[in-house]
């Protein structure tokens, strides 16, 4: 395993605003890396710097072993990039759009034609190759964008918000497509998104960026543990009958940090395992227990937590 993308203290400053602040990011060969963060966190700026489309203020980046500012052509030869809301030449057909990009990649014409029909097939647009892009729906354009990225047979692809503005079904199809490509071609994928729940299933690793700073990066399961060290114990408690005053009694138990009302019962955030105390409390008060379930923090919660704190 070697790093396809590696940044060291990558920083971008616009006038007095730090868009990206000393970012240290690694994407390993063959993995799907989710680059997550709220809107305006600096995801796109980072991606632009990785592709040499904008210059970093300071710091260093290396993509496939090349410096994107000075050797941008080498980087672009190996890396496919799908921008947010990809645009196409609307007055020509999907195939012609792909052929133009293939020509810009200096792929010989007959080879380009072969690859074009191959990638259109792969993204499920083989029927629509001759249609004008103007007639395409948003989801189709997104898939066409992925096809175009694949025409150059890249080593890695960088996808900026690939599921933005697409209906849930379409988004799932796109994510499955990405996952399939990763598996079949051993393609390294870096995808940015602000919708964690959508992408978390296909990502091997994620990095969360908020206000230009990378807060955490790692494998999905590591992430929860790393972040929520101090609040690992979460329980869902559901009791039968009236539970008047139960909340206050629970709060009196040492270790219970927060109590949140859920539709079915109470959600307890604790600093230690309080289950024995809770059970004995219920027994004492004669309250029937329906369920007491340990709930591991989901990445969603971690993510929201950071969003709020940011």
């Amino acid at each position: 395993m070697s790093a396809v993308v590696e940044t060291q203290n990558l920083t971008k400053r616009y006038h007095d605003k730090l868009a990206v602040n000393a970012l240290n990011l690694t994407v390993q060969e063959g993995e799907i890396f989710g680059f997550l963060g709220p809107n305006g966190a600096g995801k796109t700026t980072t991606i632009l710097m990785l592709l040499g489309l904008t210059e970093a203020t300071s710091g260093r980046a290396s993509v496939c072993g090349f410096d994107p500012t000075r050797e941008s052509l080498e980087v672009k030869r190996r890396v496919g990039y799908l921008p947010e809301n990809p645009g196409f030449y609307e007055d020509i057909s999907a195939t012609e759009n792909l052929l133009y990009m293939a020509r810009l990649n200096r792929i010989p014409d007959d080879e380009a034609r072969r690859r074009t029909s191959e990638v259109l097939d792969q993204v499920g647009l083989s029927e629509d190759g001759r249609r004008l892009v103007r007639e395409f729906s948003r989801g189709m354009k997104q898939r066409l964008g992925i096809a175009e990225v694949l025409v150059k047979k890249p080593r890695a692809v960088i996808l900026d918000e690939p599921t933005l503005g697409i209906d849930p079904d379409g988004a799932i199809r796109i994510l499955e497509l990405i996952k399939g490509l990763n598996r079949e071609r051993n393609l390294t994928v870096m995808l940015s998104s602000h919708q964690l729940q959508q992408v978390q299933e296909i990502c091997n690793r994620v990095g969360i960026i908020v206000k230009g700073r990378l807060i955490v990066q790692g494998q999905m399961d590591e992430l929860g543990r790393a972040i929520l060290k101090e609040r690992q114990w979460n329980f869902l408690l559901e009791v039968g009958g009236g539970a008047n005053g139960l909340e206050n009694d629970l709060r009196a138990i040492p270790g219970v940090d927060e109590i949140e009302k859920r539709r079915h019962g109470l959600f307890l955030r604790c600093t230690r395992d309080v289950r024995p105390e809770v059970l004995s409390l219920l027994a004492r008060k004669n309250i029937p227990l329906l369920q007491l379930r340990s709930e591991d923090p989901t990445l969603e919660e971690i993510y929201l937590k950071y969003f709020r704190e940011a």
């Binding site: 052509l73 921008p83 809301n85 645009g87 030449y89 810009l104 900026d160």
Partner: protein, 307 residues
């Protein structure tokens, strides 16, 4: 670069915008030539005995402009039309970041676009001239001679530079203003300024420098000042070069004193001599194009390409 060049050229030729321009220019061009051709046929006495073909391009009848004037007026429009959305349009469509994330140098894109525009202009200008020559042969009954052809060829080259200036300017604006409409309006504003207001301003400045011309010398001086000031406008540069290029008998810009004109034989100038007269104009036009394009080039190379 050639890939972008051919793509852009194909785009220009298949665009509706180009069709409209072509139809407009061909129609008016043919009409202007036909009108002056008819005038020449009916009024042979006032027609010079030599270089009738060039006269065909430069003489206007009472109601119709001459072809040369007309091209000088519409040339900028062609340049602006071809250039005003070259970069901003790619921004608006969201194709710029996709194209530039392909392994091409950034300047290939802007060079390809600029030269495709120039090539379009050259083809347009050349075909109109060929049409006019064809029509002229039918109307006049004889073909142009070699010198006339040379002069028309150089006229085409000067015209391409002239329109090239407007193309480069429109491209610069399309880079500066990311809104297509703003770029178009800004280019139009410069065009109107250069064609209409420069005349007024140069008259004003000449009026300040030479307030009350009473002697012929002062009058000539005033005209000179006016000429010099108005030469900041590429339109003036173009129309002056054309007036020398397509009229071999012409040898001065503006007014000439009686004493200066004394002893000049009213014979046509040789091509080389005519060229000597307008050499500064051509150089300046070329320089303007280079400066405009150079600025766009520098801005574009350093720009951040955000989708």
């Amino acid at each position: 670069m050639s890939i972008v060049f051919w793509k852009e050229l194909a785009d220009h030729f298949s665009s509706r915008r180009f069709m409209i321009l072509l139809a407009l220019i061909v129609l008016i061009g043919l009409w202007a030539t036909y009108a002056s051709g008819q005038a020449i046929r009916q009024d042979t006495e006032n027609t010079p005995t030599q270089y009738v073909f060039l006269f065909l391009l430069t003489s206007g009848t009472g109601t119709v402009f001459s072809l040369a004037t007309f091209l000088g007026f519409f040339g900028p429009l062609v340049g602006i039309t071809l250039g005003f959305d070259s970069i901003s349009g790619e921004y608006a469509r969201g194709t710029l970041s996709r194209v530039l994330s392909q392994p091409i140098y950034r300047d290939s894109l802007i060079n390809g676009k600029f030269f495709a525009g120039l090539a379009t202009v050259a083809i347009l200008w050349g075909s109109i001239l060929l049409l006019v020559i064809g029509l002229g042969i039918t109307l006049l009954g004889f073909p142009p001679n070699a010198e006339e052809l040379w002069r028309m060829l150089i006229f085409t080259a000067v015209g391409v530079f002239y329109v090239g200036f407007w193309l480069a300017l429109a491209m610069l604006f399309s880079l500066l203003f990311q809104k297509t409409v703003t770029a178009a309006l800004a280019s139009m504003a410069v065009w109107l300024f250069m064609t209409l207001f420069v005349v007024i301003i140069s008259q004003g400045i000449a009026g300040i420098i030479v307030p009350d011309p009473s002697t012929p010398e002062q009058l000539a001086r005033r005209a000179d000042v006016e000429n010099i000031v108005s030469r900041i406008s590429p339109s003036t540069l173009f129309s002056e070069s054309v007036s020398i290029l397509l009229n071999p008998a012409a040898r001065v810009f503006g007014l000439a004193l009686q004493s200066q004109a004394e002893g000049i034989l009213p014979t046509p100038l040789e091509l080389g001599q005519s060229l000597n007269l307008i050499w500064p104009h051509i150089t300046t036009l070329f320089g303007l194009v280079a400066v405009c394009f150079g600025i766009s080039y520098i801005i574009f190379m350093r720009a951040e390409i955000r989708a």
